[in-house]
């Protein structure tokens, strides 16, 4: 019974530790997936001056030629242009600063899944002019509904302030609420006309076939287009990169906290075991077992119990994580607003952290060994005469 308690404690502790790592891995992967496939792409190209103050004059020179070359390069899945400017969205009731993205609808639907994100209304109608897609958060804030009119004001490429009246064609909602609040999408033709940049654009968003190729393709592009600013998703969104790195560390901290709780469980159970077996230990000491052997005996017992609990914990974690990896784990209970404010989706697909398994095992075994030291030392201090009297 006592052994079962320790085995189960180890199994539960291991399961909890792996589950935390799996959840964090799933969350981070989800965040990075969202960033790459719904926001920034793997790589972005701008004129080297453009991002300093988003001046619409700094279009990508020979953009059409470059985008064709990139789209046909090996390892590139898709390349889409965007015209971008910072401006003011105004309605009869108020105004808000926004980033206006001029997009080629069909390419944008593929590069940022914009169509999939539409929760009200429809995609761009090619037969209509001056349609705008706005985020739900912005729509709520500005009290905008479908077919509502709004005015976008910004400076054109010559520095002149221009305005355009647009009608809301659709409202989208992504997993990133701050992004929804600050971005609006219009047809590139409508925006370029107002910016007076004809067929030019400011940004090329690139999706690759494989995440692993980001660095090599980035290097190739930098060599090929030395005058352009070519950034990976890590540079475009350093906060996401930092989040991934720090979450990795946090997950270990949480795991260590779980292990500390587990350690107290093991200490308690092993102490009970020592108390229960005081006579037995006294007898062994009387018969001639030396203290080093007794210590080793208790240590080995804990290690064997740990090793017995380990496969159970790993198997349970693997089964449950794989189940949720396929079905998805709905975290809307944690607060939709909170999750989307950090750029996380409601459905997380935890991933078994096979790469961290060795580390987890070391932590669990070390916890078990450290936890049994105190009970083992207590056993060593027993005097056979006293122990045999119990």
């Amino acid at each position: 019974m006592r052994s079962m308690v320790i085995i189960l404690s180890i199994a539960v502790g291991l399961f909890a530790g792996i589950a935390v790592l799996a959840l964090y891995k799933g969350m981070m992967k989800s965040r990075v997936r969202t960033l790459i496939y719904a926001e920034a792409g793997h790589l972005q190209i701008h004129d080297s001056n453009f991002k300093k103050d988003y001046d619409p004059r700094y279009v990508i020179i020979n953009g059409s030629k470059i985008i064709k070359e990139i789209a046909s390069a090996p390892g590139v899945l898709l390349a889409a242009p965007r015209s971008i400017t910072q401006g003011m969205l105004a309605t009869t009731t108020g105004s808000a600063g926004v980033q206006i993205n001029g997009v080629i609808p069909e390419l944008e639907y593929a590069v940022s899944q914009l169509k999939r994100k539409i929760v009200e209304g429809a995609k761009f109608n090619s037969a209509k002019k001056n349609e705008v897609l706005i985020g739900k958060k912005l729509a709520d804030k500005m009290k905008l509904k479908l077919r509502s009119k709004l005015v976008l004001t910004f400076t054109d490429s010559s520095g002149t302030i221009v305005s355009g009246a647009f009608r809301v064609a659709g409202i989208f909602q992504s997993d990133n609420a701050p992004l929804d609040e600050k971005n609006v999408y219009v047809d590139i033709k409508d925006l370029n006309a107002l910016l007076s940049i004809s067929y030019a654009f400011h940004e090329i968003v690139i999706l690759l076939d494989r995440d692993e190729d980001v660095s090599s393709i980035q290097d190739n592009l930098r060599r090929r287009y030395p005058g352009l600013l070519i950034e990976s998703w890590r540079e475009i969104s350093p906060e996401t990169d930092l989040l991934v790195k720090t979450t990795n560390q946090y997950s270990y901290i949480i795991m260590i906290i779980i292990m500390i709780a587990l350690a107290f469980g093991i200490i308690n159970t092993m102490l009970m075991a020592i108390i229960e077996r005081t006579r037995e230990i006294g007898m062994m000491l009387a018969l001639g077992i030396n203290r080093l052997r007794l210590f080793t005996l208790i240590l080995l017992e804990t290690i064997f119990l740990t090793l017995a609990g380990t496969p159970i914990g790993i198997l349970a974690a693997w089964l449950i994580i794989n189940y949720y990896n396929k079905k998805g784990l709905n975290l809307s209970g944690l607060g939709e607003e909170m999750m989307s404010s950090f750029g996380f989706g409601m459905i997380i697909y935890p991933e078994f952290p096979i790469d961290k398994l060795a580390g987890v095992l070391i932590i669990v075994i070390a916890t078990a060994i450290i936890s049994c030291l105190f009970p083992a030392l207590r056993a060593l201090m027993l005097q056979p005469v006293v122990a045999l009297r119990r």
Binding site: R279, E280, M283, M284, L285, A286, L287, G288, I289, N290, R291, R293, P384, V385, L388
Partner: protein, 240 residues
Amino acid sequence: MDTVIDAHNISKVYNPETIPVYAVNNVHLHLKKGEFTALVGPSGSGKTTLLNLIGGLDKPDEGNILINGIDITKLSANDLIDFRLHNIGFVFQSFNLIPVLTAKENVEFIMQLQRINKKQRDERIKQLFKEIDLEDKLNERPSKLSGGQQQRVAVARALASKPKFILADEPTANLDSKSASNLLDIMDKLNREENITFLFSTHDQRVIDRARRVITLVDGRIVSDTAEVSTKHEDADMKH
């Protein structure tokens, strides 16, 4: 006969600074090889304390105990453990077998501590279980054995290390009369045939009747010792 136990002037005091209680008070005891000795006396007379002192489980406050010429009161804790392993066999009142081990493993455990090889261990176990007449119970756990059978396994365990002598603390106290008689037969046989030295504390008249020497303790002092009487008789006979 060779002297196995030679205890001089040994005392054990509890609460020395408040109300001193002499559990063992200035005891002299000599035991020769092959003796079959009962240590008797009322409860609290110091029988178990004296056995613990002789067995090196406790240290006397005064006096020396020489086992085969080695003063165990001067040994360090680790040396004493090693000494016990190779020189003293213990049989406890409540058997004290390890419940998770089989009868065979309980006996083998001592020999493993002595680093005796597997072949020798198997031979010795076979011989010991034959002597205690439990050859068919080798692989039974203690919970499947009767009290008498458990105590016989405990005797086999005590013998396994080939000790210089065996200390048995009330070995028949938890046994019915048939099991007690059976156990005494085995101990008696081992003593007569293999010249194994036994010193046991007891209240049991059957055990006292079988002992060839009886030492009586009262309030921590030896008040009578049949060996001294015999010696005096022998001396008187010699003079005549």
